[in-house]
């Protein structure tokens, strides 16, 4: 069963357009060089509105997670709901996929790379262990 889909706003549309194109795009402030997430038309660190979209490396590390056994809506498959840190710095929520959802497979600081799950017209950025074969 496909999961929920987002409802983009004008400020977040470039993120979702990037995902549909197979790219994880976030914004960078050209005044203070800060990469940040989620999308906003100004830098949350220095307040500058000189910000630009960048394509990230797609690399991240596993900061923390839960393995949800009581998903809503109900599903038989446990879901890894994870907090990851992008190589560019920002944190984001995601799912870790392409690996059996067991604690022994998910040590903290595990290197990850982005992948995308298609849901209708949207592609949802997710992550998978970096060493896993494509």
């Amino acid at each position: 069963m496909p999961g929920p889909t987002p409802v983009p706003t004008p400020e977040t549309a470039p993120y979702w357009e990037g995902a549909a194109a197979g790219e994880l795009r976030i914004q960078q402030c050209t005044s203070c060089t800060e990469y940040y997430f989620y999308p906003r038309p100004f830098c949350p660190r220095c307040g500058s509105d000189a910000v630009e979209w960048r394509v990230t490396s797609g690399r991240a590390t596993l900061i923390s997670y839960v393995i949800n056994h009581r998903t809503f809506p109900p599903s038989d498959a446990p879901l890894v709901i994870a907090l990851v840190q992008l190589a560019e710095g920002p944190h984001m929520m995601t799912n870790v996929v392409g690996v059996e959802p067991l604690p022994e497979n998910l040590p903290l600081d595990l290197p990850l790379r982005v992948t995308f799950e298609q849901r209708g017209e949207y592609a949802i950025p997710m992550f998978t262990p970096a060493e896993a074969a494509r």
């Binding site: 987002p6 409802v7 706003t9 979702w16 879901l79 903290l108």
Partner: protein, 387 residues
């Protein structure tokens, strides 16, 4: 930052009550849980709705509650930051009373969290940042979202999942003798760890109960409170603080420590003019078992990494140095969805000497709330002596 107190020890809680029953109440709507708690709290104070000129609440709008009760308000506060909204309401009411903007303020909570009577839909707006960037990943329930940072907290301190179970066991020991508590069977660390996971590393008893119920508070100036028949039961607001960080768990600056706990609690202690050593009793909002660990460390009652041992060695239990969550907490007593009101109620009962499981000699209680997962925090310092 100025931490000059707007309270000056001059504001008192003169009425406090929960709904007559808590637990499973399918016959009462959310709005009427507010009303029942409000009427109980006013009766506790020896006052009526005609005495009230200020109303604060979260959930329903403040004007809905005030109209429902037949109050003509000249002050309203609908601050909504989840389960710690009531800590902020007490703080805001104190400022309003001190400024002359209200004389008698009613703070209400009611929630049909279990039976869902008269309750709206669940889940965030799908166009909000939470909707677009967290809910799409199934981070759409408290147990699958609020819990996400816990493994990082444990990992950074060299702790295991067992630390979460220690919290459950300590809380349960308080609930065993409390007939109003939902979970009263004594348990062990091993038993908690062996339960099937809800959202690993959290097992069922590491997650709060889900109940129906409510509570309300009545506040006025300590000067005026001295004239009430219930004057000797007045509980005084000594200090308070509030703060917020991100509305999304994923955007906490540090998943292993919550900035809003640090800031709100520091301001509460500073405005009260006390130190940790002056605190006799702690209510630490425990929707999930990791929260008392964060709070003990972020509030500064213990050093970094010391929270697990502090609890496991019995310091938060009966006869301990810092009795904590003496009603059994959200993990064992009750949790309607916004537990903060119940944490305040237990602090008031302990300070009045009227708790079901009373700890002797409590003069100062610290109440720490959290709201909207790791989004907001509210802290209160309450005392049973007018400073």
């Amino acid at each position: 930052m100025s931490t000059t107190s707007m309270h000056g020890g001059g504001i008192a809680i003169v009425g406090a009550s929960e709904t007559t029953d808590i637990g499973s109440l399918p016959g009462i709507s959310t709005l009427d849980l507010h009303a029942q708690a409000a009427r109980n709290a006013l009766a506790d104070a020896g006052l009526t709705v005609k005495d009230v000129d200020g109303v604060a609440t979260a959930g329903p709008f403040a004007h809905e509650v005030s109209h429902h009760l037949g109050i003509t308000p000249r002050w309203l506060d609908g601050t909504m930051v989840g389960g710690c909204s009531f800590m902020l309401h007490v703080r805001h009411a104190a400022a309003a009373i001190a400024a002359g903007a209200a004389d008698v303020v009613l703070v209400t909570h009611g929630e049909s969290g279990r039976s869902r009577v008269g309750v709206g839909g669940r889940g965030p707006n799908p166009a909000s940042p939470q909707g677009q960037f967290e809910a799409v990943y199934g981070a759409n329930t408290p147990y699958s979202t609020f819990t996400v940072p816990a493994l990082r907290f444990l990992h950074e301190r060299g702790l295991e999942r067992e630390a979460l179970a220690q919290v459950v066991v300590a809380q349960r020991a308080w609930a065993v003798d409390n007939p109003r508590a939902s979970r009263r069977t004594p348990t062990t660390v091993e038993a908690v760890l062996e339960q099937p996971p809800i959202a690993w590393p959290f097992s069922k008893d590491m997650c709060c109960v889900v109940t129906d119920g409510g509570g309300a508070l009545v506040l006025m100036s300590s000067e005026r409170a001295a004239d009430l028949p219930s004057a000797d039961r007045a509980v005084h607001l000594l200090g308070s603080g509030e703060s917020a960080e991100a509305p999304m768990v994923s955007q906490m600056a540090d998943p292993g420590s919550f900035r809003a706990f640090r800031l709100a609690s520091a301001e509460a202690l500073a405005t009260a003019g006390i130190t940790h050593a002056d605190v006799d009793h702690l209510m630490a909002y425990d929707a999930f078992a990791h929260l008392p660990l964060y709070m003990l460390e972020d509030l500064g009652f213990v050093g970094r990494g010391e929270s697990r041992d502090f609890i496991a060695e019995g310091n938060t239990g009966k006869g301990g140095a810092l009795p904590m969550n003496t009603n059994g907490g959200g993990l064992s007593y009750t949790h309607t969805g916004m537990y903060g009101m119940f944490a305040i109620q237990e602090a008031v009962r302990q300070l009045r000497g009227e708790a079901v499981v009373q700890v002797p000699g409590i003069e100062t209680s610290f109440v720490q709330g959290v709201g909207m997962f790791f989004a907001a925090a509210g802290s209160l310092v309450l005392g049973n002596r007018r400073p």
